[in-house]
Symmetry: C2
Subunit: 135 residues, 2 copies
């Protein structure tokens, strides 16, 4: 239970750093590894600490502070890997993210972020015309 709470806390800390445009905090959240991966909305994959954190420095430096709130988090754990899927609320816009963390030396370090478009919360594609929704 404590692990789930600390995992949610790590996820919230990521969005705090994002909202505050805090590059130093963002650097401290990610695992310093060549294996980490980040997929910003619409981008290709960035791999490794150098490229991933360079992208965050650019993104956090390029725009005004604005609150990004994680909502409806779904937490799962498989061994030392924790997953948080959540909606990202930005003013009246929503994105969806898969965030992965590795439990190492007593804390959850971010190893993967993939964010992209989604429907608004409450929308259920399984009860809607599927042919408009498919790949």
């Amino acid at each position: 239970m404590a692990e789930i709470e600390t995992l949610l806390f790590a996820n919230e800390t990521f969005y705090d750093a994002f909202s505050a445009r805090d590059v130093q905090q963002m650097r401290s959240l990610w695992r310093n590894s060549n294996d980490i991966l980040c997929i910003h909305p619409g981008w290709g994959p960035l791999r490794g600490y150098k490229d991933v954190l360079e992208s965050w420095a650019l993104i956090l430096g390029a725009s005004e502070k604005s609150k990004i709130t994680p909502i409806n988090p779904i937490v799962t754990k498989a061994g030392a890997v924790g997953s948080v899927v959540c909606l990202e609320k930005l003013e009246n816009q929503y994105l969806i993210a898969t965030n992965l963390f590795l439990f190492e030396s007593g804390s959850w370090l971010m190893i993967h972020h993939h964010a992209g478009p989604t429907s608004a919360p409450g929308y259920d594609p399984l009860t809607t015309d599927i042919k408009q929704q498919i790949h």
Copy 2:
């Protein structure tokens, strides 16, 4: 090394089932668990074997066969969790996917799929005008 190869094979098998619109094969690839998660492009998250596989049955049943090819796969492993990030090539369109697998009883079972839009391969956002690319 063998684990990486079998992980890539599991990822390819997923796209084979997708391309062939083979619901039975798709059902056999996923872990039968309440914790699995699937985010189709633009959808909200679907959780658990029942909802995830219901969505695949709808998607695979709703459209003609068409080849979906995984390209440029990036494979990483953390404990029993394997990750494959790849582009999904559909005719002249590209999507990007995060696919997660759990190694259990000697095979890789799918536990997570998140697909969404991406730039074409070779596009490097770090060398392009960042202000057009940010969240």
